[in-house]
Symmetry: C3
Subunit: 133 residues, 3 copies
């Protein structure tokens, strides 16, 4: 019931479109009407849903998140160098869902599902469970 | 099973209380004990839950979100003028749930459900599905 | 079906590890394979999932959230002194889920579930419902 996707991220901070992988998991679950639950078992990457038409959106989101959550700060106490990554991931969130109808994800016209990486590049896991109505 | 609410937003950035519409959807679903799943199929508006007692809260939230996610920035690459809207929407989130008991939403004393508009005014859609326990 | 956890927070802003309490609720629900839904019926505290290995992470997250969402601002209209708390809570979110397998929470290696308090110290409530697959 619980499917596991493996996602290879390509940079320190980036948004990786995983819509195709999630759609495959929905097909494998063989659920026509239901809800796809998505979960990231990490603390420095999250999930978000965003526009996939213009890659400028992803660039700008990463740029602003980097600015407001600074990577370095003399007052940081965390022994690793990634407090910003933790906060950016918590801001995006770890558990999200998308409805399924007719065996397909019910996404808006401009929506795609992204793994939001903030401490990469790494190999990440996304867990997917599809609830049947 | 999947109900669609239509919400007309009134400004560029605003929080629109949709609690009444969601309650109507719960009644239409005729579920006494369950969970209402809420989803926004957009990329520049989200959903949040907040206080509905003092409208000052909504004013202040919009004000601070506007300040930390600036509308204009020379480094923005997105061809439209709304990278801030995308980031503000991702911060609030697109998928949320509220429990249902006795046929009613189980909201806290001060909680209301808001569509969080960041690129309005527009006509927006909220999808609602009520899972039965 | 709906369980209620009571959490005593210890400071104005803090992250309280509630993983043990949520695990107890999962055991009480007697669900082997399913999904634990978590909901906070408040407007100035939220839930997040984060690292529990180094307390420096929690310190740094609170520090940065306090800086970007200032407690005082001459332009604030909210009659109480906690607009920042509302915004910090909305950023973390009020509804989250974690999968359950073999009767246990499916958390990542470094993940713990936190109540994110932004207007404490107070006694807070977390609602838990465990869906069976």
């Amino acid at each position: 019931m619980l499917q596991q996707l493996t996602v290879r991220t390509s940079a320190g901070e980036c948004l990786i479109d995983i819509t195709g992988e999630v759609e495959r998991a929905v097909r494998a679950a063989n659920v026509a009407e239901g809800t796809a639950l998505l979960y990231v078992p990490h603390t420095t990457c999250g999930i978000t849903i965003q526009e996939n038409a213009d890659p400028g959106v992803q660039h700008d989101m990463i740029m602003v998140l980097r600015r407001i959550y600074p990577r370095k700060d003399p007052a940081y106490r965390h022994i690793e160098d990634n407090s910003a990554s933790h906060l950016q991931a918590s801001t995006m969130g770890f558990s999200h869902f998308v409805f399924v109808s007719g065996g397909r994800l019910v996404l808006g016209r401009w929506q795609a599902i992204y793994l939001a990486e903030f401490d990469g590049p790494r190999t990440r896991t996304v867990l997917v469970k599809v609830l049947r109505d």
